[in-house]
């Protein structure tokens, strides 16, 4: 087959890819991206995991190390079928937080740390550059197979032009739009097409080898058992280590993150990819061993097993198949380079170039309107830079190393991100310090024990250091750290770097304290399923003045808002209310807004409208603070309204009381009329009798006596009423005097006439004498007299007895009057202090039922109290004597 045909077909293929990408972009731009966002396209785009290393290198790997090559696919298979654990969470976080790259994920999780972003970016660049070089290498090697007689010079030129072509493609379709949430439909589509081509090519070669050369499945298996591959003994450590590394790589490789998380259109696609992508991997590796075995059998000794996929059909005279195989390898290489370059360029421009640029322009991003252009330019330059780096690496280092070895070295490098990433996604306690320490040390161990030695003994690290350690420190020998020699270099490096890395992530996190931002982000990452039901999508179109006006109107009122906009329009020399949205205007708006809603909210709101997702966590924290203030205010309002409720309640109660009092007053009036009427009736009738009839003197005397008694009773009633009224109105003046309690009780006992009719009084005079009083003694004795005479009148015992006991209660002297009568039923205890309340026969004692009411009023006035004492075996009243403080208060 002519070399020119190869070139022509390649160019046609490239043109076809351009066309596919362009058509996909067009469809997406028109909104008809339905099938572009299907889970199948997503799954196929994941296939950039399979690079030229897989396409060519897997056969070489199998030829050298037997079945071990399959571990490269088993790791990702496990991660994919375990999507419910990690990938689902990663994709959800990526969408909720608008993560742009794996460096962004780490940086964002750990408080938007610039340092971590730079660290991960560096790690990714150093880990990926050899990989890109590898792809360029594979393309030139495969071209060389067809181009007989090409020298070094032409091959390098081929490598250069490949790199240049890839740069053009990547810049064209990778930096059309700035927003990373806007997916790269063109590139994803092209990658998916390339995935089909490489899978088809490999299967075609495999089918040809198994059925065309070996003669069927059984014969192939026999050949396998008879070949050198069967001699290979698998070290278990390497098997497990590489499975683990491959699993880590699919999570941590920047290009995998790009297609898996950033380009993900729908979380549900993961469910399909969880089995479809392992299936893709299985098909990719199904024919690897047969091709390797047949290649080893048929190809001349010393031919490069890495190129069997290409050279075997060629040697069998199948030019068409060889061409397809070439295209498959070309697809593998180019799709990987394109996506890896985009991912790296995003990281470099976002985490290295943009911060430097922003800090170098003193005005800040808001003032200059050209941020977009600057970032896009940075991204384009980054793409060129990354590809140039890959090319340089290819020129100077990629000469002899086997493809597979370089891939695995890169795997160990990117796997250093894994501990920080997993800790960040699952553990709220992970901190920036821990992540930084783990990353830095893991990175250093990887560089020292695997990456630098990979250039060959003596190339970077001198032979002496390799054998004796730096400065003769034996336990720092690159391939025998801590004195453990004899391990496979990859296992050795992976083991130590991962142990130290994960250990430091834990230790650093446990011993340090996170900043508020980190803690906030930690919660958002770890609890992503609780917090982000649906990731919000802000309109990404440039903000329109009308939208701003609508928003501002809602906050500062329509009239003011329109005035503001009209002023601005006039300033810009325009008519009407719609000015151009300039950075200056936005600053003014924000200032205006912050007068209404506070600075932080205003910034966040304007930020949302103008920059899409560009609201920093600091803003949100400040918003949260303001929200807290608002909540406090509303809590205060709530308290106030509760207070008002209480007041209303009190008012209602007062009203009820007044109504009750009014009823009471009516009852009192009718009662008093009744009370007054009874003696008046008897006075009138007896005085009529006295006037009209002549009766004997005795009778006259008796009637006059009755009239007199009734008058006395009437007078006493009126006296009591007057007394009560004076007391209740508070018009009483107290005549304070000092005296002994015992004297007071003596006086009361004799005044009440107790003892004359058989009431025995028991007293503890010694106790009484100890108590000095300073109060209105007359009033107090009135209370005592009342209580004693009550006992005298109502005590129904055969040998009535009254105990007057003095004691202390709560620091105040109390006097208990306890008789041995029947007591008062609990239901009546509430009533006895009311006016006109008499128990039993009203006429029995001749009182009007005002005595206890007066007593209570008096004691209240004096600052003491009186209440019924239950459970004393008879009627018992307790008089609480006024204390000295209460006196002072009077």
């Amino acid at each position: 087959m002519g070399f020119n045909v190869l070139i022509a077909v390649s160019l046609a293929y490239v043109a076809f890819l351009f066309l596919v990408a362009w058509a996909a972009e067009r469809r997406a731009a028109r909104g008809r991206d339905g099938w572009l966002r299907s889970p199948w396209i997503y799954t196929l785009s994941l296939s950039i995991y399979c690079t030229a290393w897989t396409f060519y290198g897997a056969v070489g790997y199998a030829a050298r190390s037997g079945l071990e090559f399959v571990t490269i696919y088993l790791g990702p298979t496990l991660v994919m079928i375990g999507w419910w654990w990690v990938l689902r969470r990663m994709v959800r976080i990526g969408r909720a937080q608008r993560i742009t790259s794996i460096a962004d994920l780490i940086s964002s999780r750990f408080g938007k740390s610039t340092t971590l972003g730079v660290l991960v970016t560096l790690l990714a660049v150093i880990g990926t550059t050899p990989y890109i070089a590898l792809q360029l290498n594979s393309v030139t090697l495969s071209v060389a197979v067809f181009a007989e007689g090409w020298g070094e010079e032409e091959l390098r030129a081929a490598g250069f032009w490949t790199a240049a072509g890839l740069a053009v493609f990547t810049i064209l379709f990778g930096t059309r739009n700035l927003d990373v949430n806007e997916r790269h439909h063109g590139i994803v589509m092209a990658v998916a097409v390339e995935a089909v081509v490489k899978l088809g090519a490999l299967i075609a070669v495999g089918v040809f080898v198994v059925w065309g050369i070996a003669g069927g499945v059984g014969a192939t298996l026999d050949r396998i058992d008879a070949s050198d591959i069967a001699m290979w003994e698998q070290p278990g450590g390497r098997w497990i280590a590489i499975t683990f590394l491959a699993g880590a790589a699919i999570l941590c490789l920047p290009r995998m993150f790009q297609v898996m998380v950033v380009e993900n259109a729908d979380e549900r696609h993961l469910a399909t990819a969880s089995w479809a992508f392992p299936l893709f991997l299985l098909l990719m590796s199904l024919f690897v061993v047969p091709i390797a075995v047949v290649g080893l059998d048929l190809m001349p000794a010393g031919s490069n097993p890495d190129l069997f996929v290409l050279t075997l059909p060629l040697a069998q005279g199948r030019d068409g198949l060889a061409l397809l195989s070439f295209l498959g390898g070309f697809s593998s290489a180019t799709s990987m380079v394109i996506v890896a370059t985009i991912a790296l360029a995003t990281m470099v421009s976002n985490h290295i170039v943009a911060p430097i640029w922003l800090s170098s322009t003193r005005q800040g991003a808001l003032v200059s309107g050209d941020v977009r252009q600057v970032i896009l330019m940075a991204r384009r330059l980054s793409i060129l830079g990354v590809l140039a780096l890959g090319y340089v690496y290819y020129r100077f280092a990629a000469g002899g190393a086997a493809l597979a070895a370089m891939g695995i070295i890169a795997f160990v490098g990117v796997a250093q991100i894994l501990p920080a990433m997993l800790a960040g996604m699952f553990w709220r306690g992970a901190t920036r310090i821990g992540a930084g320490l783990g990353l830095a040390v893991g990175f250093a161990v990887w560089l020292w024990s695997l990456f630098l030695p990979s250039f060959g003994a003596g190339a970077v690290i001198p032979v002496a250091v390799m054998e004796a350690g730096p400065w003769g420190i034996g336990w720092l020998r690159p391939q025998a750290l801590f004195g453990i020699a004899g391990l496979d270099p990859v296992v050795h490096a992976a083991l130590w770097s991962m142990i130290l890395n994960a250990g430091l992530v834990f230790l650093g996190s446990a011993l340090s304290f996170p900043k508020p931002l980190e803690r906030l982000q930690g919660v958002q990452f770890v609890n992503v399923f609780e917090n982000s039901a649906a990731p919000q999508t802000w309109a990404r179109s440039a903000v329109r003045a009308e939208d701003l006006l609508i928003m501002i109107q809602r906050i500062i009122g329509p009239r003011e808002a329109q005035m503001l906009f009209a002023q601005e329009a006039a300033r810009q020399g325009k008519q009407g209310y719609v000015p151009d949205v300039t950075a200056d205007f936005i600053v003014r708006l924000e200032r205006e807004l912050s007068g209404s809603v506070g600075a932080a909210t205003a910034h966040a709101m304007i930020g949302q409208m103008t920059e899409g997702a560009n609201v920093s966590v600091e803003d949100l924290i400040a918003v949260a603070d303001e929200t807290a203030q608002i909540m406090e205010t509303s809590a205060r309002l709530e308290a106030k309204s509760r207070e008002q409720e209480r007041t209303a309640q009190a008012l209602r109660e007062a009203n009820e009381k007044l109504t009750a009092l009014s009823i009471q007053k009516d009852a009192f009036l009718s009662q008093i009329s009744h009370e007054l009427r009874t003696p008046m009736t008897s006075i009138r009738s007896f005085s009529e009798l006295l006037r009209e009839s002549d009766m004997d003197r005795d009778e006259q005397r008796r009637f006059a006596g009755i009239v007199h008694d009734e008058t006395v009773r009437l007078t006493r009633l009126l006296d009591d009423l007057l007394d009560l009224s004076v007391l209740e109105n508070g018009q009483v003046t107290l005549n304070r005097a000092e005296g002994r309690l015992s004297d007071l009780i003596d006086r009361a006992v004799s005044a009440s006439g107790a003892g004359e009719d058989g009431l025995t009084i028991r007293r503890d005079r010694a106790r009484e004498e100890g108590i000095l009083l300073d109060t209105d003694l007359d009033r107090l004795s009135q209370v005592f007299i009342n209580l004693i005479s009550n006992a005298r009148k109502y005590c129904a015992a055969e040998a009535p007895e009254l105990t007057i006991a003095v004691s202390q209660e709560a620091g105040r002297p109390v006097v208990d009057f306890i008789d041995n009568g029947a007591g008062i039923a609990p239901a009546s205890q509430q009533m006895i202090f009311e006016k006109f309340s008499r128990l039993g026969d009203p006429g029995k004692a001749g009182g009007a039922g005002l005595g206890l009411a007066i007593c209570r009023e008096i004691m209240d006035r004096l600052g003491g109290g009186i209440h019924y004492l239950d459970g004393q075996g008879g009627t018992a009243f307790r008089v609480v004597l006024p204390g000295p403080q209460a006196l002072a208060a009077q």
């Binding site: 037997g66 079945l67 399959v70 088993l74 298979t77 496990l78 991660v79 994919m80 079928i81 375990g82 999507w83 419910w84 654990w85 298996l221 026999d222 396998i224 058992d225 591959i229 069967a230 001699m231 290979w232 003994e233 698998q234 278990g236 098997w239 497990i240 499975t243 979380e267 549900r268 469910a271 399909t272 969880s274 089995w275 479809a276 392992p278 299936l279 299985l282 199904l286 061993v289 399923f529 609780e530 039901a533 649906a534």
Partner: protein, 103 residues
């Protein structure tokens, strides 16, 4: 802050099945890891060991089985972006009609 709504203690049969399906999705990679590590324990290559072709068939066989299981699980799974929060609480089955009870 409002406390999160308590998750239902008992789930309806369909939700219960979904939960167990998610558990299966979680267990599957563990199973896969064990199956994939097994060949390390075999004496491959030696005269009394497994032949390479048998190992090859074993690996691709388990691989295929895992893919089928993963496909089955992801097919049966009602994928619901809200995740665990939309579980239907368990409702006791309604009493059967009287006639059924009598009959």
């Amino acid at each position: 802050m409002r406390p999160p709504a308590p998750r239902p203690v008992f789930l309806a049969r369909a939700s219960y099945r979904q939960r167990r399906l998610r558990d299966a999705a979680r267990v599957l990679p563990v199973l896969g890891a064990i199956l994939f590590i097994l060949p390390v324990l075999w004496p491959i290559g030696g005269p009394e060991g497994q032949t390479t072709s048998a190992a090859l068939i074993y690996i691709f066989g388990t691989w295929t089985a895992l893919i089928c299981l993963a496909a089955l699980i992801s097919r049966l799974m009602r994928f619901d972006p809200e995740g665990e929060t939309t579980d239907m609480p368990f409702e006791p089955p309604a009493d059967p009609p009287l006639s059924e009870r009598e009959g």
